[in-house]
């Protein structure tokens, strides 16, 4: 079990940077008023961020990933989360195995 000093310093730098990003939203909303259309815009953040995270997987990785994303999205309208996720993972594994 070793703990290198430069490594520890790097981990702490990452931790501090990440903590800053996490609490800064609390400061932000204290100094910016959130009424009307701004409030609406804030509500659009969750789907916008999630979409940005998955978009390269969904549209720019491969046919297997694109199809599996479509399967997952379709399943999500009717089925519970765990089932939809399992269906997505299973379909990407099968599609990759058959070489799509």
């Amino acid at each position: 079990m070793t703990l290198d000093f430069a490594t520890l310093l790097a981990i702490l730098a990452m931790a501090v940077a990440t903590m800053l990003t996490r609490v800064s939203g609390l400061f932000l909303i204290r100094h910016v008023s959130l009424e009307g259309s701004r409030r609406k815009a804030i509500e659009s953040i969750p789907p916008a961020v999630l979409m940005a995270v998955v978009a390269p997987t969904a549209f720019a990785t491969g046919i297997a990933e694109t199809l599996a994303c479509a399967v997952t999205a379709f399943a999500a309208f009717r089925l519970p989360m765990l089932v939809s996720v399992a269906l997505g993972v299973a379909s990407v594994a099968i599609l990759r195995a058959v070489g799509v």
Binding site: A6, I11, M14, A17, L20, S37, S44, M51, A52, V85
Partner: protein
């Protein structure tokens, strides 16, 4: 507990992969566990492994973590408006555990029920433990693990996020936001190296919501 089960199932393989990857960069299990416990942000940890040097550069990985996690600013600003049940101190404490998956589940919960500190803690504790312990296991077991890509396990998180996106659907306005965000993210990812695509997509979606919101205000004064 039902809310967290799919996330635990999805995070364990990712944690194992992270631990195994860290072992190939000569990080000890102690260092790997410490990083997962203190940083607790998978994306930035994978990026750090990508650019890891010997000796480690704290400026390099620190700045990379800032860039990768800048999306947390938007996420915490959004979630902060839904934390009426939290005291001033517990707000900050809760925010320190704001990983993507935690945030997404909390936003979703806030849409259907009041967000309470107890519910939040029940969400964070098992997820945090699973992330740290799976990284430790991955660092110790290393190369004995199979290839998660063959098993499709790398797809678990995109799948969780897709399910959550569908849950946020509120009509055509959401469609416009998703279209703008997805297009901006794909284009940015194609032309700009690194993780700027997440910030670009999020901003494009936010701007679309602002524009369509102000247009509605003009039409119905």
């Amino acid at each position: 507990m039902r809310a967290i089960a799919p996330l635990i199932a999805a995070v364990i393989p990712i944690g194992l992969v992270f631990g195994a990857l860290a072992a190939t960069k000569a990080l000890s299990p102690l260092e790997t566990g410490l990083m997962s416990a203190l940083v607790f942000a998978g994306g930035s940890q994978f990026v750090a492994m990508d650019i890891w040097t010997h000796p480690a550069s704290w400026t390099g990985v620190g700045f990379a973590a800032l860039l990768v996690n800048i999306r947390h600013v938007l996420m915490s600003a959004s979630l902060a408006t839904k934390m009426e049940a939290f005291g001033p101190r517990s707000r900050y404490l809760a925010m320190l555990f704001l990983a993507d998956e935690i945030w997404a589940m909390a936003e979703f919960r806030a849409g259907v029920a009041r967000l309470t500190p107890a519910w939040f803690a029940g969400l964070v504790a098992p997820f945090y433990l699973a992330w740290v312990l799976s990284a430790l296991a991955g660092a110790t077991l290393g190369a004995f693990l199979g290839d998660p890509v063959v098993l499709g396990l790398d797809f678990a998180f995109p799948a969780v996020f897709i399910v959550l996106v569908i849950g946020f659907w509120k009509g055509p306005e959401t469609g416009a936001v998703l279209l703008a965000s997805g297009a901006a993210a794909v284009v940015t990812q194609h032309f700009v190296p690194g993780v700027w695509y997440i910030a670009a997509g999020a901003l494009a979606g936010l701007l679309t919501a602002l524009v369509s919101g102000s247009r509605r205000a003009e039409v119905t004064p």
